[in-house]
Symmetry: C2
Subunit: 427 residues, 2 copies
């Protein structure tokens, strides 16, 4: 499990990484989905950073957002840009790879290496397209659970994610409460509101209105690029705030002030068109349909009072929302926290001042780290302290051991099983 590229990395980053694949349900017993339909074999793309300790207790599962992938940190060979949450993951970073074993898995249904509608159906040797079964957030989490089982991990030290990733965090708490020691839910909701559904529906209509979509059977032919670009543009507006757009673009004209005939004239128009068109190169239109539908159908408590979905949760929960996020506004997060309190769950709420809208959790990494870092490290230290206490070691002894944490490695194993790798504790 050791990531060799990490060792050669400089400046805290995890260095070069490669995406791996885990395949299950290869035999006659298929993977059963919430809809009752079955799928198999199922492949998940994933990456890991840091080292899993012997007791397999230091794993943190990172959940990506709607259009994300398994590549959360480090560099792929030949790529200019690092993974999507690189600033959060690495030596001395928020998810410290000197302490933690970080797993990032691509969701089921995606087009980023996992089995989604663009994958080949072995029964027909054609892409699934719309024969792919309807997918839920629950199904994504159940597939991830197979990966976590495969890695031999009984309990995740933490799970963290924003947006659709946050929904997976919440679903993990509801589905596998005994497997989660702590959870970080960021800029998300426990169920999609009609406005959120509406934006997704219009985006889907834009894709399906493209004549190249052809009921989803466009593989090997012309992709519904125009429809997908429009769909992405809609998304982009919801990810930014009015303020962040004003700051980034103002009403700046693109070049020539003379406004003419529906070519992008303002900077914001050119930006949206550019982002829409570049998205087309990296994303599949059918995956867009399935993943947005999964979000729209997400209702963590399934219509029950929300706290009833949280009664078995023992994890410590951190809920983060951003003031200018109007896609998943703070009041959604406050409902989650309230339900946690009603269910007796140890939950902390933090509403962060930001002008970046929903994008903030991907943009304001430093601010997010300042919040998540202490939360996760405090839990880590508590776990270690618990181990010490169980062995009758007073915490004051720590500083005097002088063996660079060696005693921790020896004793920490006891209660919570931590093989501490180069941990540095504040005095």
């Amino acid at each position: 499990m050791v990531n060799r590229a990490q060792r050669s990395s400089a400046g805290g980053g995890v260095g070069f990484v490669t995406t791996r694949f885990f395949t299950f349900a290869e035999g006659p017993e298929k993977f059963r989905l919430e809809s009752g339909e079955e799928l198999g074999p199922v492949r998940l793309a994933y990456e890991t950073y840091g080292t899993l300790n012997e007791e397999r207790t230091n794993a943190i599962l990172i959940q990506h957002g709607f259009s994300g992938d398994a590549h959360a940190a480090g560099y792929h060979h030949g790529a200019d840009a690092p993974g999507w949450w690189d600033g959060m993951i690495g030596r001395g970073r928020t998810f410290d790879t000197d302490r933690f074993f970080v797993i990032s898995s691509n969701v089921l249904g995606s087009c980023k290496g996992s089995t989604g509608p663009c994958a080949i159906n072995p029964a027909t040797e054609e892409p699934y397209a719309l024969t792919y079964p309807l997918l839920t957030i629950n199904d994504m989490v159940n597939a991830q659970k197979r990966l976590i089982d495969h890695l031999g991990i009984k309990k995740l030290f933490s799970i963290a994610g924003g947006s659709m990733g946050g929904m997976q965090v919440l679903q993990w708490l509801a589905s596998y409460p005994e497997m989660v020691h702590s959870a970080i839910s960021i800029a998300t909701t426990h169920r999609h509101s009609p406005q959120q559904i509406a934006f997704n529906e219009v985006a889907r209509q834009a894709i399906m209105a493209d004549p190249h979509w052809k009921g989803g059977n466009y593989y090997g032919k012309t992709a519904p690029a125009n429809g997908l670009a429009v769909a992405r543009m809609i998304g982009h507006i919801t990810y930014m705030s009015d303020g962040s757009m004003a700051k980034k673009f103002g009403r700046d004209p693109k070049e020539d002030r003379h406004p003419f005939k529906f070519m992008p004239q303002f900077e914001v128009e050119g930006y949206l068109k550019y982002r829409g068109n570049s998205f087309v190169k990296r994303f599949d239109a059918n995956a867009f349909l399935y993943l947005t539908k999964a979000m729209d159908n997400f209702d963590m408590a399934g219509g029950r009072p929300l706290h009833e979905a949280l009664t078995s949760v023992t994890a410590k929960v951190l809920v983060v929302a951003y003031t200018s996020d109007w896609l998943y506004p703070p009041h959604h997060s406050r409902e989650i926290v309230k339900a946690c309190k009603v269910a007796g769950v140890d939950a902390t709420y933090c509403e962060m001042e930001s002008g970046y809208g929903h994008d903030a959790f991907l943009v304001e990494i430093e601010e997010l780290g300042r919040l998540v870092g202490p939360f996760i490290n405090k839990l880590y230290e508590n776990a270690v302290r618990k181990a010490e206490h169980g062995l009758g070691i007073r915490s004051g002894h720590r500083r005097d051991t002088g063996d660079g944490g060696g005693w921790l490695k020896r004793f920490g194993r006891w209660l919570w099983g931590g093989r501490i790798v180069g941990a540095a504790f504040p005095g």
Copy 2:
């Protein structure tokens, strides 16, 4: 100018009405647009309600929003629904047709009877399509000015409108301050923000992505209905609030709870699709492009400080915004009021509590009337009082005349020229 249908109307409505047309720039001298291009002949569709007094001083110009038309009040023969602001216009209604002569004119560039891109260009005998010149809010107002001149009106008692109609109200103040006695700006902005531009741009991209659009040359062929429907759906989301959507739809499934394969499943999805598809029957895709672009380019002060565009204004101004309107949020209206104050303009601001979002000015007619009614009637009474004072009549005499307002009809004519038709004044 007497509207005969009005006389036969019951319950305060103006009864049956018909749309009229005013054509100008028919000769060699064409109508010059802000872009420098010329257009002619130019036709405007308009309706009037109530009676213009002899002195032509009791006219109120109503401005419709983006997809509206001249039909603001009353019924067209054979139609089930009245005009779009019917609840505001009629006997004893906010714009009281017993007092006022109400004019509603369709904007230049629209597809609702005025000369727009779907009109026939007499030079080519083909629809203008994209040979139609680029249009601005300023151009719309300049065309309306021709209509007002044609009606022999030197000064409008008031102008009122919401959304794009509000932009026209503001542009009237900037362009023809001497012609405006009062102005009511509702749920609008003095210039489009990047977010507003972004929504419009995505809607335009949706239209232009439709292969039936064919560079605008779809007349007589298949219209770009799918693209236009998607464009309208985007608009609809921005007109409602998250709260009004939740109230109207919740997460109610349409019929069968079993969510499947991208057919509208939630009520909100079905509603958007229905509204999008019905819009296609009543609106022209090219008009959508031109009118949204006019809004995007709108910048009342043309880059100068806003108050500089208002220095010549003598009108009393009422600015109305709605708390849940996130398309034209209240802070835009507050900027307008602030600039009025800096320019020494008598402006009143009212932020109305509403859950209906931008739609509120079309939905919450009663609440709007409670605000606008006293504003407009106070001005009316002041004007009459001024006339009394000019003739040395003390206001206390009013009650004792006992001739049902006959003295007002006689004397009111003097200063502000009001031929008061059945006015009822509070004691």
